[in-house]
Amino acid sequence: MLDLLWLIPILPFAGAVLNACLGGKPPKALVTIVNVGAPLLSLLLALGCLWEYGHGTTQVIERTYYAWTAGALPSLQIDAGFRLDQLSAIMLFVVTFVGFLIHVYSVGYMAHEEGYRRYFAYLNLFMAAMLLLILGSNYLIMFVGWEGVGLCSYLLIGFYYDQEFPPYAGKKAFIVNRVGDFAFLLGMFALIAHFKTLDYTRIFDAIQKQPSLVTGPTVAGITLASFVALCFFVGAMGKSAQIPLYVWLPDAMAGPTPVSALIHAATMVTAGVYMVVRTNVIYQLAPGVSQFVAVIGAVTAIFAATIGLAQTDIKKVLAYSTVSQLGYMFLAAGLGAYSAAIFHLGTHAFFKALLFLGSGSVIHAMGGEQDMRQMGGLRKALPQTFRTFVVGALAIAGIFPFAGFFSKDEILHAAAANGQWVLYAVGLITAALTAFYMFRAVFLTFWGKFRGTHEQEHHLHESPPSMTIPLWILAVGALTTGWLGLPGKSNWIHNFLAPVILHPAGLPEPAEHELSAIALGLIAFAVAVAAIWYAWTVYGKDNGLERGKEWATRSPVLHNLLVHKYYVDEIYDTVIVRPLALLSTFFWKGVDMLLIDGAIHTGAATTEVAGEVGRFSTTGNVRNYALYFFLGVLLLFLWLIY
């Protein structure tokens, strides 16, 4: 089975290609079979591979399929290969499992869409790229997948291309991502320059044995390790929506909701975290950059959480929530708690996907309405959605025994244990905010009186099983996945991932922390419960929205700031976008039209003028022609004789 590892990304890719070959108007059933079947097969194959891997003895399965540079550039070692180790195993499970569930959900959600077939083609392509990203054995394959998911993100955000905003949002996502990709490339180039390869095994082994390979070389006081770590992190900033490159994620909500669930919650945005954790050996040797990563993560977490407090669009709340939770993951990675980061990645995939799909169910019932101010009291009309949504909300809020409690707690524990009390405080406050805004959303949507139109009220209905069954499955995940990381010696995930966390020679072993996990856990739990209770008092009653508004008007300046997302988009627009647009216009009008087109026009005009003048030689008089003829002969004669 492990020999078929390469099929896992190829199957969804084949699904996408097959989709394109299905002729003009294929029946929906056919599209469904092909494009949901492919991820299903991938999932089964992945489970098979994982089973074999789990029951085998090899720690790392590496398969090289093609030695790309062997022929032309033997000094460079870049191959096309896959690597299955503990880290990619976890990612593989998450991506294929959650991905498949979302495909199933999409069948129901997108049933009435005209672009059904196009949607599934893109979604399959995305799966292929994401799987490539996590299974790659070197940074180049990762980068190919990285770009591939960026492309699919663009395609799927701009899915409703006949409207004005989605294509713009798609462009924004792609361009902001590109900034990060540029840095990622710089990091890769630096690695190539020093190691002549991009292979994980070769690079990490070399560094582990001899850390001076990356701590030695410096440019302007910056070590190679710091440089690569920083470049890679900037790439992660773009892909995983950290400050300052997060601005594309909220706008990405313009895409269909399952896309938001899959790409912008569970999988693509986590690629940055995966990349940082994969590169952990370098980050351990670049303590300044690691601290930077942690700080950015924490700041992003609290920043996004504050914005989430004031949003009225249910998807936007979840979007900012995603940014915030990703901040947690980077906080963990920056602190060196790599397994905690991956743990939170895994649990987050389940409960965030659940929340998004649940919101999709709500939107579906509301006939497309996303504004929570129009909702209310939906728990009666949408019982399954309601229950699963609450499970997700409890998970994200960090309530025992749901998943988020354990994973978030792990991160806070890491912060405290490292003595980083400021970061710990930020994390704790963010946890409170998270619980608050999440349940604000829950209460506004599911409690109180319905605030929408009569039409919408009539339309309310629970979603079909193709949508609700994935919800339930994810809910089970949101409950149970936390139990993989019980604190203490038996932390399964921590032990499982231990081999992936390399220890460079000469670096002191991270000390075992004595701080009581239980005490910290109780504090976090209490804070979350308090936040939920407070949200209840404000939003829980029938007139929740009015009370919320009243509450907001108490500090209008702050409220305004939050509603307008701290005006970040506007600032970017003025400082970056406008000048670039002006510059581009200059190059367009001034250089392109004037100079380049002008040069061509001059050439054409010259020919034209020459023609205009030259035509006077065609007098129509044969004897003139004879004269020219004769003169030519004279010249020829001259040339021949002399």
Binding site: L627, L631, L634, F637
Partner: protein
């Protein structure tokens, strides 16, 4: 003796050539051409090619020039009238032509002046004989010979086709307006 012959016939050729290019009556030009051709035929004989000389008289003067005369008579060409000056409206042409001609002559002259010519061997009967000429023609130059035959055939057909009188419905007749009321 030989030199004298040469000079006489050379002068004759040149003189009649000048008449060919300058006389205002085309018939006179044609007759002058006959004289030129004849003089050149004599020069051919002097150069040891009697057969070609005879051919020249037969074909050129006997056929081609007669053809010219026929056409002149058919088209009823008039001599250039008195008031129509030869140089009317074509000053540039004439000047250019004369200058070009002079340049050409001088070029050739200088080309010859800078090369040396071997002395001619005396003529032998063998050099002049028709037998060797004919043998070469029908062995080494057989293909060109046949092709020229074909060429003459094609020329005859072509001339006939081009010069025939076309029926009225041919496209070469001038455009006639369609009857009233019909589609354009």
């Amino acid at each position: 003796m030989e030199t004298l012959t040469f000079l006489v016939f050379a002068a004759l050729a040149l003189g009649s050539a000048l008449v060919v290019v300058s006389h205002k009556n085309p018939v006179y030009s044609t007759i002058s051409l006959v004289v030129t051709l004849f003089a050149v035929a004599v020069l051919f004989v002097m150069l040891g090619a009697p057969f070609v000389g005879v051919l020249q008289v037969l074909i050129y003067t006997g056929a081609i020039v007669v053809l010219f005369l026929f056409v002149i008579m058919l088209l009823n060409l008039q001599p250039r009238s008195r008031d129509e000056s030869r140089l009317a409206g074509q000053g540039l042409q004439v000047v250019g032509a004369v200058i070009g001609g002079l340049i050409l002559w001088f070029l050739i002259f200088f080309a010859f002046a800078n090369s040396s010519f071997a002395a001619l061997k005396p003529l032998t009967a063998e050099m002049v004989s028709l037998k060797t000429l004919a043998r070469d023609l029908f062995t080494e130059y057989l293909l060109p010979f046949e092709i020229v035959g074909l060429l003459l055939l094609v020329a005859v057909i072509g001339a006939t086709v081009v010069a025939r009188k076309v029926p009225q419905a041919d496209a070469t007749t001038s455009y006639q307006k369609p009857p009233e009321g019909s589609e354009p």
